[in-house]
């Protein structure tokens, strides 16, 4: 009964936080506590509904084949059949993938909202923060349950808006303002590609509904060529490159850490940034048909994973390290999708949401305790004063490094196995090496922040329960979320897959390799940053590889390159255009004006107002006529003068 209701009313899930947004903005803004309760409460109810709906989906295998879809007309143009027409629906599509995602987003949101209650205490924009969070929750959930790509695009842009608003939440900070702008514009560039892809899909296939598109693209030869389809797939993929922070449009994500920490956890780690992965997963029917697009996805993913991990090695700010690790993990997910494993990609997204949200929230707890001192080198030994924060962070660290039985191990293993099974040995090597780097940089941070000697100037204190409870809940997820998909007991693969469920054979070799890599990464970090109290080796290494170190620390100078491009090229061209407008176009207009005026001035010479001049001209005229008549005779003169006899 409840399950049935939840499944047929899944639109309530985004609607509730949307209402919370409206209520907070228009009614409860002056009452901070009430605003927070409304935001957390509405998201919690949404989470309950989502859980029931997900339960309904995950108890009936029918939905893996035929999703539950219901929709209403949103817009209809033209007359179908008579003229060119356009029909757009808003609807809900529930299947295991979207049900999982809907549950994951609402669950994690609930706890991050709760965390924010404590974290944001004392902020002048307290209520507004919860309004934005609610709007984000609504948009993200709308994106997840969308039954068509236009609706998804709408939500896609709305989550971008929320991201913009929340990154720039501390409006008085210039860095926040610039980071917000950067995020929006970078994603805009990517969305331009996505929009073109959607337009091409609409024009070629006449629909943007996921189910219909799936069927039509399966027989795409009836509509278009493989070349065109490849182009469409590549265009669509540009969107996720931006949203999910893939190389080369990853630049906005680390800067996005300017926002309050719950925002980093929710939007820039667990939910919004995986929207790109989700979109590729949702349009797997498109990518599946185009081999080269799949390769593009896989290579982009693997490269991003490795690339971001190398940058993370050298960063000093706690949230930046986490941000680069997010970019890197998103690369893993893309890699999984690119090698054709929706199962592995979604699985890693699921586990990552728990352990990465956990680590961000724990980082937020650390930052609060240290009054927003962010450099990991200025921290140390925090675990004694902040045991809950510290140990939950350690759990997150074990999960992301890939130590069994923590969640990250199982999902990373799935990806490695899937890459190997498809015969992508180079990508496998990249992914495996990234796993080693990940373990190393994560534990570098953990050793520096939580272990070693305490710094006397820091006076940390454990955070209040509203902050620690979410940490504990997410830590449970970071331990257990991966148990759905162990090689011996893989429920995950039975529900979430594209085409046919595929269980790879249990690959003990890969498993062993990833444990060894993770373990050695942690051990290396241990020897360099904990055992060696003076960190001599770390310093020496940085000196030996000076140029490399600086390049990594400066993020390969990509930001500088873009900045130069923006300022020199775009702004330069803009100035040029403007000068052209001022001097050429306007010059022409003013020129016409001046010409009119000066010809007026010229003619004014004759308008002297002196009677004798007029009389003189009159006399000359008469004289001319007389001469004409005298010399040519009246008939010829009448030709010129027209009838004057």
């Amino acid at each position: 009964m409840l399950v049935e209701f939840a499944m047929m009313h899944a639109w309530l899930v985004p609607l509730l936080p949307a209402l919370a947004f409206l209520v907070i903005v228009f009614l409860t803004r002056p009452f901070e506590k009430l605003s927070a309760i409304i935001a957390v409460g509405s998201m919690a109810i949404a989470c309950v509904i989502a859980s029931f709906a997900a339960y309904g989906i995950f108890t009936n295998h029918e939905y893996t084949k035929t999703p539950l879809v219901y929709a209403a007309k949103w817009l209809s143009l033209g007359m179908p059949g008579v003229t060119d027409s356009l029909m757009v629906h808003v609807g809900v599509q529930l299947d295991p993938v979207s049900a999982m995602m809907m549950f994951m987003v609402s669950f994690i949101s609930t706890f991050i909202f709760l965390y924010s209650v404590g974290y944001m205490k004392g902020d002048p924009g307290y209520s507004v923060f919860f309004a934005y969070l609610s709007l984000f929750g609504a948009s993200m959930l709308l994106l997840v349950i969308s039954s068509n790509l236009l609706q998804m695009f709408v939500a896609w842009e709305l989550v971008g808006l929320c991201s913009y608003l929340l990154i720039g939440f501390y409006t008085h900070k210039i860095s926040a303002r610039e980071a917000a702008k950067k995020a929006f514009v970078t994603c805009r560039v990517a969305d331009f590609g996505l929009l073109l892809g959607l337009l091409a899909l609409q024009i070629t296939f006449g629909t943007l509904n996921l189910v219909e598109l799936g069927e039509k693209i399966h027989n795409f030869q009836e509509y278009t060529s493989i070349g065109m389809l490849t182009l469409i797939a590549v265009l669509v993929f540009i969107g996720p490159i931006g949203k999910s922070g893939q190389f080369p449009l990853h630049v906005w994500l680390p800067d996005a850490m300017e926002g309050p920490t719950p925002v980093s956890a929710l939007i820039h780690a667990a939910t919004m940034v995986v929207a790109g992965v989700y979109l590729v997963g949702r349009t797997m029917f498109l990518f599946h048909e185009v081999e080269s697009a799949m390769q593009l996805v896989a290579v982009t993913g693997a490269f991003t994973a490795l690339f971001a991990a190398t940058i993370a090695l050298t960063q000093r700010e706690i949230k930046r390290i986490l941000a680069y690790s997010t970019v890197s993990q998103l690369g893993y997910m893309m890699l999984a999708l690119g090698v054709g494993s929706l199962t592995a990609g979604m699985f890693h997204m699921w586990t990552h949401a728990f352990f990465k949200a956990l680590m961000f929230l724990a980082a937020g707890s650390v930052l609060t305790a240290l009054h927003h001192k962010a450099d990991v080198w200025e921290m140390g030994g925090l675990i004694k004063k902040m045991p809950i924060t510290g140990w939950t962070f350690v759990i997150g660290g074990l999960a992301i490094a890939g130590i069994p039985p923590f969640a990250g191990f199982w999902s990373k293993d799935e990806i490695l196995v899937a890459t190997l099974a498809e015969g992508h040995y180079v990508l496998f090597a990249m992914a495996a090496f990234t796993a080693f780097l990940t373990a190393f940089y994560m534990w570098r941070m953990i050793f520096l922040v939580f272990f070693g000697d305490e710094k006397p100037e820091n006076h940390p204190q454990e955070s209040p329960w509203t902050m620690t409870v979410p940490l504990i809940v997410l830590a449970v997820g970071a331990i257990g979320a991966g148990w759905f998909g162990t090689p011996w007991y893989n429920v995950w693969a039975e529900w979430i897959y594209f085409g046919e469920p595929h269980h790879g054979p249990i690959n003990y070799g890969a498993m062993l390799l990833s444990i060894v890599l993770a373990g050695s990464g942690i051990y290396l970090a241990y020897t360099m940053y904990l055992k060696d109290a003076q960190k001599k080796r770390a310093r020496k290494l940085a000196e030996w590889f000076g140029p490399v170190y600086r390049m990594l620390y400066n993020k390969y100078y990509i930001d500088e390159l873009y900045l130069w491009f923006n300022h020199a090229l775009v702004d330069g061209t803009a100035r040029l255009f403007y000068l052209f407008d001022l001097y050429v176009v306007d010059g022409l207009v003013n020129g016409i004006g001046t010409f009119t005026k000066s010809s007026g001035d010229g003619l004014r010479v004759f308008q002297t107002g002196r009677l004798q001049n007029y009389a003189l001209i009159f006399f000359l005229g008469v004289l001319a006529v007389a001469v004409l008549v005298t010399f040519t005779g009246p008939s010829a003169a009448s030709l010129v003068l027209g009838g004057v006899k």
Binding site: V82, T83, L86, T171, H172, K173, I174, L195, A574
Partner: protein, 504 residues
């Protein structure tokens, strides 16, 4: 006879203007109230007309005809269809808001509001006239108040207000001169052909569509020049940034919001409707000019430091989309064209009203002199950001779906050219966000600490236009069902004519 609703809508502001003549000029509040009441009557009635229009029947409704100059076939013919009703509603939404955006006008308020009311009435007249002569008459009526208002209540920055007013007026007049020549020629040709002079849109169109391809081409060319310079089609756009910068807030709102839409409206409802073969000939050129305008003006906007210039260039850029959309000559494109005019009107009016308040309070529009206003004037910042977001086509606000439909229509017909136009959304995001960021965010400046946020009557533009912005974005069919009911028959008429005559 039914209640003459269109006539009432048209006369309400004029009546208010007449009343104002007899109000003593010191009665500040009375003056504003009368103006607000006049525009409110029009707004309420045009909302009523909008929602009682029977879309299933379609065609011209609320019609009213009074024969006037029978020798010339002129009738005082007012009527509305699915294309004119949104524009009528838009005029009144903006007109009503403009009164409140001018609430703080202190120099000669009575004269100001009289002229404003006449301006609003004139603009409305062009959208409900169904007779070419009457249309032109209203169009010319509009020019006079604009000039006076710019020159008296305008502001001189980069250019003097006198220059701005001159430029605006002369452009409008030259545009209308081309138009006039076109209309006269059209009238002569059609009346010679049918023997019965008829200036009504439909009557004239039936005959005009039978004109030879050559005649249609040069007639359409003249109209394109006229309407094109009115809608600031590239390269006839340079009046727009200067003009808006010089004009007082209310004039900028009305001019950018609705007046320049007369150009797009005329293109669709007169030029394309009557001369489809001419339109088919000119369409590719229009598409090129449209895209050029989008890209060029977006780049121009990027280089601006005066807020009004940013929005001025931005409006040229957005009108490029409208021209591109008209050039598609398909149902989706034409729908997008009309809808985008509506959407841009709301957005531009909100933008200009917010900038007007910023200017009124800070006495500057120079972006480098501002920053951090979001802290001092949060409501103003909300309005500004809403307009900015609508301007960059954020889904969920009114302008996304119109742009999307234009992109579909244009991508289908013009392919690569359309892609260049669509790329404009990136540049738009860049300049709009930059202007917003540098004005509203960053460290608040101490010299603006004393500023009072907008409140009371000043909130009306934000509430009215902001509501339309959001509602139109969430429920696009409210707008599109109406427009579609006007576009489908129009498209049917022109495609019939094109099929009979063969595509040129």
């Amino acid at each position: 006879m039914d209640f003459p609703i269109l006539l009432t809508i048209l006369l309400a502001p004029i009546a208010a203007a007449l009343i104002l003549v007899f109000v003593p000029k010191e009665e500040n509040l009375t003056i504003r109230s009368v103006a607000a009441a006049g525009t409110f009557v029009s707004l309420a009635l045009s909302l009523y007309a909008y929602f009682t229009y029977d879309q299933s029947v379609g065609g011209l409704q609320f019609a009213m005809q009074i024969p006037w100059i029978q020798d010339l076939g002129v009738t005082f013919f007012l009527a509305a269809d699915g294309i004119s009703l949104p524009m009528l509603l838009l005029t009144n939404l903006i007109g009503f808001s403009a009164v409140f955006a001018s609430w703080n006008i202190n120099s000669r308020p009575r004269e100001f509001f009289i002229l404003l009311l006449l301006l609003i009435a004139g603009v409305m007249g062009t959208f409900i006239a169904h007779d070419l002569f009457i249309f032109l008459l209203f169009y010319e009526v509009v020019v006079i108040p604009i000039y006076i208002m710019v020159v008296i209540w305008g502001s001189s920055k980069r250019v003097t207000k006198e220059y701005a007013g001159m430029k605006l007026t002369i452009y409008l007049l030259i545009g209308s001169a081309f138009l006039l020549v076109g209309v006269i020629a059209l009238f002569v040709k059609t009346s010679a052909m049918s023997g019965v002079p008829d200036m009504s849109f439909t009557g004239m169109a039936v005959v005009a569509r039978q004109l030879s391809g050559f005649d249609q081409i040069w007639l359409f060319g003249l109209m394109l020049l006229g309407f094109g310079s009115l809608i600031s089609m590239w390269p006839f756009h340079s009046w727009s940034p200067d003009g808006y910068a010089g004009a007082p807030t209310a004039v900028s709102m009305i001019h950018a919001g609705v007046l320049k839409k007369i150009g797009g409206y005329g293109l669709v409802k007169i030029a394309v409707f009557m001369l489809p073969a001419g339109a088919a000939f000119w369409a590719p050129y229009m598409a090129v000019l449209g895209v050029a305008g989008v890209a060029y003006a977006a780049m121009g906007a990027l280089a601006q430091k005066d807020l009004k210039y940013v929005v001025g260039y931005s409006s040229v850029s957005h009108m490029g989309y409208v021209i591109l959309a008209v050039a598609c000559l398909n149902v989706i494109g034409l729908n997008g064209a009309v809808a985008n005019m509506f959407a841009h009107g709301v957005m531009a009016a909100l933008f200009f009203s917010m900038i007007g308040f910023i200017y009124e309070k800070t006495h500057t529009r120079w972006i480098p002199d501002m920053g951090g206003l979001a802290r001092q004037t949060p409501r103003l910042a909300v309005g500004f950001m809403m307009a900015a977001m609508a301007s960059l086509g954020l889904p969920g606000l009114i302008s996304f779906i119109p742009e999307f439909t234009i992109f579909i229509g244009a991508f289908d017909v013009y392919g690569g050219l359309a892609v260049v136009g669509i790329a404009g959304i990136i540049i738009t995001a860049l300049y709009v966000l930059r202007a917003g960021a540098n004005t509203l965010f960053g460290p608040p400046r101490p010299e603006y600490n004393h500023l009072k946020d907008i409140r009371g009557p000043e909130m009306v533009p934000l509430i009215v236009l902001g509501t339309v912005l959001v509602v139109g974005g969430l429920l696009p069919s409210l707008l599109f069902d109406m427009i579609n009911s006007g576009v489908v028959p129009l498209h049917a008429a022109i495609s019939d004519a094109l099929q009979l005559g063969g595509k040129f």
